[in-house]
Subunit: 142 residues, 2 copies
């Protein structure tokens, strides 16, 4: 079997300085960074940035212009509705693009979305059944 | 600040049964699943699947056809070159599309890439400085 791990998400970046500055502006710890790469420690997982063309080259696939919709999202699961609201207040103070203001979800949770400077989408979400480990990683129910 | 967490990656899926079957075929534990969603426990992080159109709707953004290059990759960091080779043997046995056979990297590591049925790219990688926590999540160097 293939080990069931999702250790790093790497976002193809078209403007590295802007993308790095953006994630730094969230208060995230940049564990490693240069003009050509950047890695942020995100608790359970790791989010990395890498130039889009170089990322395609590294995977040995053809590069192409990004789609309008990126076809994936990242999520930040939090412990309460109030924590979600506080995060969106910070995003507004940072003039971050909010695509969906936080609100109740059909499944009993509370969530909103923001976009990074290149349209990568992040959900900030609370749910009544969420549990977390000591690192803040979400624990999935069995 | 925004809590530095990357708890879930959700891949927009165009063919949910095929995508679910693919990740199950890797031997991954599907902690939650239905015709409309699927969540796999991946140690440090969580990889989820959700229909592409629904994902755009949930984020309140316009949907569009995916680009040829997805502009992000996921990584599975492993403890040795041999573990990387063993994983690629499994992938070949499963007739998975390998975009790059494992080989030495310029930075002293060893990695290859495969694509899921919709072209989402995964790197399987070993590096001489990798350390892991008890869940198998990668520990970034300070």
């Amino acid at each position: 079997m293939i080990p069931a791990r999702m250790t790093v998400v790497t976002l193809g970046a078209h403007d590295m300085p802007t993308m790095r500055a953006f994630y730094r502006s969230l208060g995230w710890r940049e564990a490693s960074g240069s003009d050509e790469h950047s890695m942020f420690d995100t608790g359970g997982g790791i989010v990395a940035l890498f130039p889009s063309q170089d990322l395609a080259d590294d995977a040995n696939v053809a590069h192409s212009a990004p789609a309008e919709f990126p076809n994936f999202t990242l999520a930040i699961n939090l412990e309460s509705r109030e924590a979600v609201d506080a995060a969106f207040k910070t995003l507004r103070d940072l003039n971050v693009s909010v695509t969906k203001e936080p609100g109740d979800t059909f499944w009993g949770g509370y969530s909103g979305y923001f976009a990074d400077p290149e349209g990568n989408l992040w959900e900030i979400v609370w749910g009544p059944t969420f549990r977390f480990d000591e690192r803040g990683a979400l624990i999935l129910n069995d």
